[in-house]
Amino acid sequence: MSVTPLPMHGHVHLTLRELAVACGISPTRLVHLVQLGLVEPDPEAPDHFSSAAAARLRRMLRLRADLGVNLAGAAIIVDLMERLDRLDAEFTRLRGQRWT
């Protein structure tokens, strides 16, 4: 049996309320996290958040639930992981350049 997937309409931006729903927390709590600087609005669209912010906050919440770190610690971990991913990509790119 073959299943034809339905087209998925993704979202690039979310409102504060949408981001709260996306991450399973209350809007009030999200406002608090924004005030603490743990979640940052999209610099290009004030009052909105990028989908990347949702991916990030969900990661932070998972790290807290699974490993018991607090959100401030989780934010640092996510920052470091993003940096590591960038360095990995850069390293792969440079290594590719060297041999071609």
């Binding site: 299943v3 997937p5 339905l6 087209p7 998925m8 309409h9 993704g10 979202h11 690039v12 979310l14 996306a22 399973g24 990028s50 989908s51 990347a52 949702a54 991916a55 969900r58 990661r59 998972r62 790290l63 639930a65 699974d66 490993l67 018991g68 971990i77 996510v78 992981m81 590591l84 991913d85 990995d88």
Partner: protein, 305 residues
């Protein structure tokens, strides 16, 4: 239907006699090491599989009832053996393959012993429904797709998704597909899919913010005298009027032919580059020699800009 036996003690690396404290410690240490969110992007999917196993093992061994039930199967089983649950091992009606999907991330082996819902609510420990894991991936898009939007079938974790690429999306943007990630392991909502957009280079157009840039090769006489030339824009060919005295590097603007942003669009710049004929005919040579004789430029060659 036979399922494969899972050795939960082996997964956590503890002896069958391990205390609750030892199991907790082993779990914490393995969870830290294999947590998908702590792995480099390329290894996340593989780590997620291992992390599921670890969680399943922990779910069973940290719950006194489940552990007793699991231990009652006997110590002779080895991981990977074909396993048929003893009669009465699970509660409720016969579990069919479709029902097993309800256990979320847990294995068929788990479902064959503890039933679809893991034998009811766990006592102690965290029982907040946790969303399923998110799946992250890359979405390479072409310039045409940025300009017009489009649809793309992608494969993520052996699953096929038709993704609608919104018009005007940018390199580095993230596209969220709510609820398309992994299923939850304890009745929570499914995870999301996050696609990171990577814009593929285009042979003709370069991107600079909302604007596009392309080279516009010109012959010397076109640059000196001006000309109407045909330019291929992403929206089709147009005629561009090159003003007289166009220098190499001059940017000629085609308004509103760049990348979309909301209702507006950036501009397309055609960057003039004067090329000289490499093999002039005898007449062309004569004309250039005549030009040299007549030239009124003040110095022997143009000043460095």
């Amino acid at each position: 239907m036979a399922v494969k036996f899972r050795d939960y003690y082996e997964v956590l690396g503890v002896p069958r006699t391990a205390t609750a404290e030892e199991i907790k410690r082993a779990y914490r240490s393995l969870a830290r090491k294999h947590h998908p969110d702590l792995q480099p992007a390329a290894e996340r999917a593989r780590a997620a599989e291992r992390f599921k196993e670890i969680n399943e093992a922990h779910d069973v061994l940290s719950d006194a009832d489940k552990r007793a039930k699991y231990d009652a199967l006997g110590a002779d089983w080895k991981g990977g053996m074909d396993f048929t649950p003893p009669p009465g091992a699970r509660r409720g009606p016969t579990v069919t393959t479709t029902d097993w999907e309800d256990v979320g991330d847990f294995s068929d082996f788990f479902a064959s012993i503890f039933g679809e819902r893991g034998g009811g609510t766990r006592r102690g420990g965290r029982q907040v429904p946790m969303p399923g894991a998110d799946i992250e991936g890359e979405l390479p898009v072409t310039l045409e797709e940025v300009l017009r939007g489009g649809q793309r079938r992608i494969t993520l974790d052996d699953r096929s998704l038709d993704v609608t690429i919104p018009r005007g999306i940018r390199d580095g943007a993230t596209l969220r597909l709510a609820g398309q990630g992994a299923r939850s392991r304890n009745g929570g909502p499914p995870g999301d899919v996050y696609l990171h957009v990577r814009l593929l280079p285009h042979p003709r157009y370069r991107i600079s913010g909302d604007d596009l840039e392309m080279d516009l090769p010109l012959w010397p006489w076109q640059a000196v005298l001006g000309a109407d030339v045909r330019v291929d824009t992403p929206d089709g060919p147009v005629t561009l009027t090159v003003p007289a005295g166009t220098q190499t590097g001059k940017r000629l603007r085609l308004r509103g032919r760049g990348l979309p942003r909301g209702d507006k669009r950036g501009d397309l710049y055609a960057v003039a580059r004067v090329f000289v004929p490499t093999r002039p005919s005898a007449e062309e040579r004569a004309a250039y020699e005549n030009l040299r004789r007549l030239a009124t430029a003040p110095a022997d060659r143009p000043a460095t800009p």
